[in-house]
Symmetry: C2
Subunit: 394 residues, 2 copies
Amino acid sequence: MRILILGGDGYLGWPTAMYFSARGHQVLAVDNYLRRRAHQEAGTDSLIPIPQSLPTRAQAWRDVTGYTIQVAEGDLTDWSVVEPAFRDFQPEAIVHYGEIPSAPYSQISREHAVFTQYNNVVNTLNVLFAMRDHTPNAQLVKLGTMGEYGTPGIDIEEGYIDIEHNGRTDRLPFPKLPGSLYHCSKVHDSTNIHWACRTWGLRATDLNQGVVYGIETDETKLDPRLTTRFDYDEVFGTALNRFCLQAVIGHPVTVYGAGGQTRGYLNILDTLQCVELATINPPAEGEFRVFNQFTEQFSINELADLVQRAGMEYGLQVQVEHVDNPRVELEQHYYNARHSALLDLGLKPHYLSETLVESMFSVIERHKDRVITSAIMPKTKWRPERRVAEPAAT
Amino acid sequence: MRILILGGDGYLGWPTAMYFSARGHQVLAVDNYLRRRAHQEAGTDSLIPIPQSLPTRAQAWRDVTGYTIQVAEGDLTDWSVVEPAFRDFQPEAIVHYGEIPSAPYSQISREHAVFTQYNNVVNTLNVLFAMRDHTPNAQLVKLGTMGEYGTPGIDIEEGYIDIEHNGRTDRLPFPKLPGSLYHCSKVHDSTNIHWACRTWGLRATDLNQGVVYGIETDETKLDPRLTTRFDYDEVFGTALNRFCLQAVIGHPVTVYGAGGQTRGYLNILDTLQCVELATINPPAEGEFRVFNQFTEQFSINELADLVQRAGMEYGLQVQVEHVDNPRVELEQHYYNARHSALLDLGLKPHYLSETLVESMFSVIERHKDRVITSAIMPKTKWRPERRVAEPAAT
């Protein structure tokens, strides 16, 4: 298959590009290095050093495996980048990671919020129009997030819910309570993609992904030049990845607030499996399919406990510290989200274990001289102190 | 009260500015003339000529009534326009019409779709940030649309629905099935505003308005210079307004498709009442309140019949023609939408009648020499002919 990977330079995008290439698919990876630039601006960086560009990474991949990954450097909000990727490459599947993926990033300032929504909404609209005009039978595999649902008081279904109301019934989109302006941008995407499927007959799968953890895949392990990035800072680091790093460097594991916040989690290896399962089992024409992509639910306190226990085994003294929650979210709540569709397609989960956490410790340890400790603690608040309003003009 | 009217130059914005000014409120109207420019680009225009700018309109208002409407010309996607309007004017209520209001406009091309979503989403984000930072206790009165809901198979509630699922219950946002990329942009706004209320404690009312008809209000009738615009073209004209114009000029009334499409409708006089009722009964801190703002449901066929009957009375020979539907929508469907919240606040509806239609005929007749007939028939298709995809590069 011809597979277009949007955001192909990212934590998940690059491993996905290699994963499909290793299985004989023709891959084109596109990225504009937005994540790298955001790190530069913030004075932060990936823990694990990665090659300087997509062409360098593709060259290393060719050197190590003999396989070719085509690459293109460009911004998906720019139609002159998007159109040729569809018109000339003619993808059969589009795996779309090409978005700003961070809730804290979107909450830094008004400018960051506007940019997050502009970037994510416009590049996905461009993808939909490019599909309509150049590859109407291709399928979109779009990375969404479980954070679109928030924490409702009822069980979360996979994208849709049958509602009986006043004696009538319909299957409707599951209501969304996104937790940040980034999560809102993903809800906007879902709304737009669903519309495009209903109206233009496009095929799409929205993978509402949980929090991903893990560092290594079969392909990243082949050579140090094939590694993927690993973020631990307050803006791009995800919970378990950050906790493991904190444990290794002797920093307390920082639980935001009470720690009862419960979410879905999955191993990066399962992200690759899920994206492949969606791709090889395409939706029907006009179908907007939603899968909840995670394998286990944990509260933040459970993760902190796990890291502490694994640390003990490994010989690390791990402190757990509850810090003021920079986010506005429920810290104790009902949470039960269905995640059976991908299992039905054949997903074989890699469950979280102390062994996995210890293997993450060992990778992190190799790079611990690169840690920028000032980047770890949360600075970005969901509800900043209110400025005193200036008096009205008279 | 100090009331900021965003989109104060529009079909509803200008009458709203006068309505509040006439009742002793201090009004600042902001607009960037986007609607006027869109008409210029398309070679179309308002049936009724309107003064050339907001300052000219405000001057006429002062001449006729002695009241002052402050005005500002600027683009709400530009923070240097939005911030001073909040910081210096210190509005207590913000009535937000400042968006592209047309489904066909958003469907003209990729560029129009992207611009519609960019414009509407970014200017509403700017409003939310300005409220947070400069007027956190003010209330937002946001014009949404009934089109956010689409045509689900169950009764439509006002913004939220109680869902019982697997033995648990929660009150959640009513699921949305928007019918165009414009309608999607309004869903995006609702998602963002709801988030801002939950997170920052802002107060907002989303007025999910039906299709507005009517030409005159108490204030527009005071002087020809105080009139509001009247659009009948395929892009900005709404169904009943367009039908009345077609009847007057001897053009067949053009029903799109089978004509069973049912929507909520209201008189422009009731728009003004509803906006006032929302404003004088503000939501609580952190409350995102949704009202369905219409007074009656009609199918397109019912409206065409009404215009035909009123035409008979008035001495017009009205033909009804079913044309290919340029939209992708159900042409026969269940539709039952609640609209009791505004009635409970005291709304006294002006129901649609043959008399009202005849009074519209008479206003339209005065300006019928200005009609651009080539602008009436639909050219913008929701599902354009698919281009033949070009072959893959080898």
